[in-house]
Structure formats: C-alpha cells, structure tokens
C-alpha cells in the first residue's frame, strides 16, 4: 500500500460500513482510529444502537481472525484465555494439550463486558495490557494485531460489574453511541423492516496492511505547540478541582496525541492539527476523569466538563 492510497482505503472501509450501519460516522471513525493506534475501545450506549453490529461489520472488513466473547456473570477466565484439555493419542497415551480460548484472535468483540465478574474482566484486561496469556505455568503470546472492542450498557445496573477506573484506563477510547437522527432512523427502518437484502462486504484491509498503517500512524509528525496543547488539556483536568476530583493520567496525554495522529491519517493528512486533538479529547478522557460532588450536583457529565476545558 502506498502512502497516497491510505485515504482511499479508509474511505472504502467507511463506505462499506455504511452499507450496514446508518449514520454513526463519528463512532465508526473512532473505531478505525483505535484500530490504527493498536489500542482497545469500549463502546457505551443504550441497547439497540448497533454497537455490536458495527464491531461485527468492521471485523468482516478486515481479513483478520475474529472472535466474540459474550460476557455473562458465570463466564470463567479460562473460558476467555483457554485451558488444558486431555488429549488421547493413537497409541492410547493421554496428554494435556492447550486449547486456546477466544482471546487468541486478532479482533475480539467483548460484548457487554460489564456483565462479566471482576475475575473474568481481569483475565481479559491482562491479555489486553500484556498481549499475552498465562495459563498454568505456560505463557502464550497473542498474535499481532490484537484489538479488543468491548461494549457496555450504561443503564443496566442489576447483575453488572462496572469496570474500575484503573481497568477502564486500559481502553484508549470510550466511544459513546447516541440515538440516531430522525432521517437516519427512517433509513434504518427502511433497511431492516422490509425485505431482507444480503449485504456482501468486501474485505478492505489485510493483516499486513493493517500493521503497515499502524506503523504509519506513529510516524505522523506533530508540531511541538500542538503536542503541548494536548498535554496542557490533560493536565488541566488535574487543576480543575471544582468539577474534577481525579484528573486524567499521563496515559491520557499519550492517548490523545496517538489518537490525533490516527485521526490525521484517517482524514488523509500528513500532520496533526489542533482540531484532531479537540476531536479526540472527548473519547480519550471521558473515562479517565472522576467528577466531583459539585459537578454531579450541577448535573454535569464528563463530556460537559471536557467541553468546558476545550473552551
């Protein structure tokens, strides 16, 4: 793939996803940016907002190994990582053989991640962070690229185990899916409430191409002033004590700059602009700050406070 072709590739991916997903342009772009930065993302939204569908569609467009983990309270860590099973050879000899779990894939859909128990969540999050799995005495390296897209429902409280801040920090993005606009919803009804048409999606990105794009993303240059702007944005979360109790960590600074590079590449630009930083600030920081009582009393959400910082 040539540098000049990157924009065409992304346009093709977005076009193909548009065949299945109506609207949600920003969500799809943020998912691609997470892919480019070799990071993980959690999609949060009410049920029925095509969170799972959008991840499945993206997986189809990538010629990568895809697996899905449906999280439930009774899901065990070994159900994710894999386990040793007894295998009988032709000679009647029995040996233990490692049976890899669904985590041994390139793209993983961890559906309803907040419904898994903390123990299971930890197993998945460890794999996300270390990109390796330890079962028994053996450690197994996960194949690159390794990309987890999780979903969670913000309103379901019964039988859920919300991700602790330290663990949600492992996700580069918390992507919020919103209700569609009226016209978009009419289009959704037209597509899915009438005669079912089989949509054929053409894979747009191979494994090597994705790794190339991930390397390219890190090469996108950024001006010193813009880098300082990103860092000042993150540090300002630690200074706004009236609304933010705990600010974002330096991991957020790295995340914003990296995400902005990905966003620039996605837009076909060879440099990071201030606008990229502003666009990426929300999904990168919203799960990394803890609001103060005063902010909650004013009925402010994380996005409202970040918007104030962006002013």
């Amino acid at each position: 793939m040539r540098l000049e072709d990157t924009k065409k590739t992304f346009d093709h991916i977005l076009h193909e996803m548009g065949k299945v997903i109506v609207g949600m342009d920003e969500v799809l772009k943020q998912m691609i940016v997470a892919l480019l930065t070799n990071s993980h993302a959690v999609l949060e939204g009410y049920p029925g907002l095509a969170k799972t569908l959008s991840i499945k569609t993206m997986a189809q467009l990538l010629s990568l190994k895809f697996s899905r983990i449906q999280n439930t309270p009774d899901l065990m860590p070994s159900d994710i990582t894999g386990t040793y099973i007894i295998e009988e050879t032709t000679g009647g000899k029995r040996t233990f053989k490692f049976q890899p779990g669904p985590v041994f894939a390139n793209v993983i859909l961890a559906d309803e991640i907040n419904r898994a128990t903390p123990k299971t969540q930890s197993a998945l999050l460890e794999a996300m962070q270390e990109k390796q799995v330890t079962v028994g005495n053996s450690t197994f390296k996960l194949e690159e690229p390794f990309f987890v897209l999780a979903t969670q429902n913000p309103i379901e409280q019964e039988g859920t185990y919300p991700l602790p801040e330290a663990q949600s920090d492992r996700f580069l993005f918390k992507i919020r899916t919103e209700y569609p606009k009226f016209d978009e919803e009419v289009e959704i009804v037209n597509r899915y409430a009438e005669e079912e048409k089989r949509v054929v999606l053409k894979p747009a990105l191979s494994k090597d191409e994705l790794i190339y794009l991930q390397n390219l993303t890190r090469q996108v240059p950024i001006a010193a002033d813009i880098k300082k702007y990103a860092v000042s944005l993150v540090t300002s979360t630690r200074q706004k004590k009236d609304l933010i109790e705990y600010g974002a960590s330096p991991r957020a600074s790295i995340g914003i700059v990296l995400a902005a590079k990905g966003r620039a590449l996605l837009e076909g630009r060879k440099y990071v602009s201030k606008q990229d930083i502003n666009l990426m600030a929300m999904p990168v920081m919203r799960h990394r700050i803890i609001l103060s009582f005063e902010a909650e009393r004013q009925n402010l959400h994380e996005d409202d406070v970040i918007k104030q910082l962006l002013k």
Partner: protein
C-alpha cells in the same frame, strides 16, 4: 553533508520575514521620531528628546516584532495553505520517514506560493509614507515660522513659582530669606559678574530662538556728538528759611532752638 532543501527554505523564509519586520519597525520608529520632534518644537523643548523616545520605541518594537514574526505560525497566519504544516515540518525537520518526507515536499511546493506582499501591507506602507511626508512638512513649517503653542520652560518656571509665598504677611523664616534673596537680585546676576574676562560661548538655534533671521539687518553706524555745556557756573541755593512765610519764621526758629537745647 548537503543541507536538506526544507532546512534551506525555512531559513530563507525566516530571513525574509526578519528583513520585512526590520523595515516596518524602521518606518514606525521614524514616524514616532518625527511626531515627537514636531511636538517638542511646538513646546520649545530640544528636538533630541524625541530621538531618545524614538530609539527606545524602536528597540522595543523591533525586539517584539522580530520575536513574534520569526515564529512560523505568523507565516501560516498569512499563508492559509500552509496552516499547521510549516510549524510541523520545522519541528520535525530531523525526522526521516515516509510521511515526514512527503509532508516536506508538500510544504516546499506550498512555499513557492509565498509572496512578499503577504507580509508587507502596501496600504499600510502608503499610509505611513503619507504620514511621514505630512509630519515632515509640519516640522519645516513650524521651524520656519517659529510656531509655538507654549514655552515649556516658561511654563515650568511659572508652575514652580505657584508654590512660592508672595504676600507681605509672610513673616516666617522662609519668607524673610526670600526677601533677602530678592534684595540680592537688585545687584544683577552673580554668574555674570563671575564671568570676568572669560569668553562667552553662544550658539543661536534658528529653530528655538526668537530671532527672525529673515528680518535682521547689518548693524547701523551711529555718530555720537558731544553735548557738554559751554560754561560751568556755581550758584547759591535758595534758603529753606526764605520759603517759610514771614509770620512763621520766628516760631520755626524758636522751635529748632528749643530742640537743640534738649539734645
């Protein structure tokens, strides 16, 4: 190792911007100097006060402008096609990868479109030149016709006298001292008396003096004729006694006789 084209191009842009900045600073400083000179002439103060003000203004203005304009964000502001790209390239000039090199090529292409007119406002330049011409004419006119709105030195002197006591009722020590000083002044300026045989250095500045050179004439020669009286005579003065009426002469005589007796 040959210099990268982008490094040379960035240096060229910076130099060009610095030259333009220095030129505009010079123009602004010149205007400030002439305006100050005009004001100083009108209030009868030495013109070189204006030079001090202009030098200070010029130094500060130049430092601030050069500092601001050497930042490539200034160029990006004037050339929107290079927005954020020029700074990015300058900050990453030492990096070598496909994207950076491609961006450098794009920026080099964009830099060809940069014109001096982007940084030099001809409208502003024209306004400044007109201002310079007008102020210069005003200075020449004011100097030639001795136009002065006020004499600042006199004003200062008058203002100084405002606090000084003037009434006859002031009998404090200061007041008495003041009266003594005044009494000394009747002998003239002491510094003139001290000058003795020293040569006086005087320089008349046409701009600041009351002498109108256009109306002066060479000194006229005058002839002095002696007007002494031909004959000097001594005459007796009229007696005081004679001017007293006769009826009173005896009384006056006896009055002075009695005074003489008592003393």
């Amino acid at each position: 190792m040959p210099t990268k084209p982008i490094i040379a191009a960035l240096r060229e842009v910076r130099n060009a911007i610095t030259q333009i900045t220095l030129f505009t600073s010079l123009m602004d400083t010149l205007i400030v100097f002439l305006l100050c000179t005009l004001v100083l002439i009108l209030v009868s103060l030495p013109w070189w006060y204006g030079a001090i003000v202009a030098v200070l203004y010029g130094a500060l203005h130049t430092i601030r402008s050069v500092k601001r304009n050497r930042n490539l964000a200034y160029v990006e502001e004037k050339v929107p096609e290079l927005q954020e790209q020029l700074t990015t390239v300058a900050d990453n000039v030492d990096k070598e990868n496909a994207i950076v090199e491609s961006l450098q090529q794009d920026v080099l292409k964009g830099m060809r479109a940069i014109r001096t007119s982007y940084f030099l406002s001809f409208g502003r330049l024209t306004r400044e030149l007109i201002t310079l011409a007008i102020v210069s004419i005003l200075i020449i006119t004011a100097a030639a016709h001795h136009i002065q709105f006020l004499d600042f030195n006199d004003l200062l002197r008058d203002l100084g006298k405002l606090g000084e006591p003037t009434g006859p009722y002031e009998l404090s020590g200061e007041g008495l001292e003041f009266i003594e000083n005044i009494s000394e002044d009747i002998y003239g300026n002491k510094s003139i008396a001290d000058l003795g045989n020293d040569e006086i250095q005087l320089q008349l500045t046409p701009m600041l003096s009351d002498i109108d050179i256009g109306t002066t004439r060479p000194p006229e020669s005058r002839e002095f004729t002696s007007s002494l009286p031909e004959e000097i005579k001594a005459t007796t003065d009229v007696s005081f006694q004679e001017s007293i009426p006769k009826g009173y002469q005896r009384i006056v005589k006896s009055y002075f006789r009695e005074i003489a007796k008592t003393s």
